[in-house]
């Protein structure tokens, strides 16, 4: 799937998106940015509640292409600005990280996600 496909997931609201059709091949769920920085795969979408500018910097470093900000947290303007500059898409949702992760696993066809 590509980043734009995330906009079709029910309950996801697009806040910004790059014109580039970046491929999304994996996902990572986490709120501890030091862990995200070390372990998130590239070309992925990050499911988190960390709605601040540092998340964009970490995403850029890890080549994460999109952020899904859960629990209805709002996006501060400096975060949105940074995401536009780094061409990282942001979606917001009322879903918890678990619910958002399940929806993304389904969209990625990762029905084996729990089976190693």
């Amino acid at each position: 799937m590509v980043v734009r496909d995330l906009a079709n997931i029910q309950g996801f609201s697009q806040q910004c998106i790059s014109d580039e059709p970046f491929e999304i091949s994996d996902a990572y769920t986490g709120d501890l940015l030091s862990d995200v920085m070390g372990n998130a795969p590239s070309d992925s979408v990050l499911i988190t509640i960390q709605a601040h500018k540092n998340t964009v910097a970490v995403a850029s470093l890890a080549q994460i292409r999109a952020l899904v900000i859960c629990n209805n947290r709002s996006i501060p303007p400096d975060m949105l600005q940074a995401a536009k500059e780094e061409e990282i898409a942001i979606f917001t949702t009322e879903d918890t990280q678990f619910e958002a992760s399940c929806k993304i696993a389904s969209a990625l066809g990762r029905f084996d996600a729990g089976q190693n």
């Binding site: 501890l32 940015l33 030091s34 920085m37 070390g38 601040h52 540092n54 910097a57 850029s60």
Partner: protein, 236 residues
Amino acid sequence: MQVKIDLHNHSCLSPCGSDDLTPALLAVEAMEQGIQILALTDHNCGRNLPTFAEACELCSILPLFGMEITTVEEVHVLTLFKDLGNAMEFAAFVEFLLPKRKNNPKLFGNQLVVNLEGELIEQVDKLLISSSNLSFSDVVEEALSRDALVIPAHIDRFANSVLANLGFLPDLPYSALEAIHVPVDADTRGLAVLTGSDAHSLDQVGRRSCYLEMPSITYESLKTSLKPEFVSYRHA
């Protein structure tokens, strides 16, 4: 006497700190605002503290040599030393514990070590806003054992705070707490709640200074005056 204090400030060494916020300009701006006790608390690094010491001496400000440490839980904790040498030793230890990840100045900002004139001495390679891998309780215990003041930073912030990240305030012997807004909507365990500017640019210096009633402007006097009844947020 009522003393104006500000115990949370960054310099151009912190990647998120503005490049023109040199230790000297921080001290001069604080002096102009009547701040009498000032701390420099860069993220996980103390390399601008020697310049800060010189600047505070010139400005007749009592310096506290600090750091804002990122614990393994990504909680920010202020550690403040009276003695520059002790602060540098602890700072070297914390910096050593950071992961060997290089800073990307374009993403995070520059990490500049400067002299009193603001001239570049070196740029720090390691990303200073990583996590030190020390636990919250280890930071508190380790810093207290080195006779530092230990103050959990901006406990009412939505990220990087003890209340946001741990969900509660562990029962540990903190010197005080720091909040952005007072009063804090949480049990502060009878501790003094200070406000600090957390300045990342020159215009933010002094934005949240507070006042402490204390007998004299010394470190010892500060330490014994960190009690709720002595803190105020406006000039008397």
